[in-house]
Homo-oligomer: 121 residues x 2
């Protein structure tokens, strides 16, 4: 058994690539993934699961069809399953995602931004 | 559909009671619970689930049988299922717990500190 404390910002400091998801923890069949981003993502939905976004560093937006959510550092939001959303990181930000293991970043949309790599850091 | 952003520290500021768990979000069948604490908790384990602790404000310890974990603000740890642990908050701290809905705070230990109330804030 290996139980270790991780600090979100210290883990973020280890990430040098943009848009590469890094696994920092696992809870049951859920992954905790950090990503540094500066891009407008694609509209997509996750048909089978809710998805948590937590703003670790910097702010970003999550566009829904009927409104835009603005997150600043320390903010958390749960995007319910099947709800279309488009994360937009105009400025560099670090996001913690919590979702079931194997959840694809692009959900039902697929396409060039789909990333199936997930390195532990 | 109601999708709203919550800020962990702003939610914490709404909590005036110690040791009363408040639900700030739900993801699938998991709850995100905030608690303000200043106490030594009881040794217990959760036979069916891992449990996430995140230090929102202040630091605290989680005692394991073979070591003591020290968490400072921004630290996260996953206590694996069936691993005995005892959270110890010597100074006032705010903790975010992530665990399956219905998980008891005292796990298999039960006793006077068991809290089954869970108010949404």
């Amino acid at each position: 058994m290996d139980v270790n404390v991780v600090n979100l910002k210290e883990k973020a400091a280890l990430i040098t690539e943009l848009h590469a998801y890094k696994r920092i923890a696992g809870m049951n069949d859920y992954d905790f993934k950090l990503v540094k981003a500066r891009r407008e993502f694609v509209w997509h939905r996750h048909p089978d699961t809710d998805e948590v976004f937590y703003a670790v560093e910097g702010g970003f937006e999550i566009h829904l069809r009927e409104k835009i959510l603005s997150l600043k550092e320390g903010d958390l939001v749960v995007i319910p399953k099947n709800v279309e959303h488009k994360p937009v990181c105009k400025d560099l930000c670090t996001v913690l995602l919590i979702e079931p293991r194997g959840t694809l970043n692009t959900g039902d949309a697929g396409g060039a931004l789909t990333d199936t790599l997930l390195e532990d850091i």
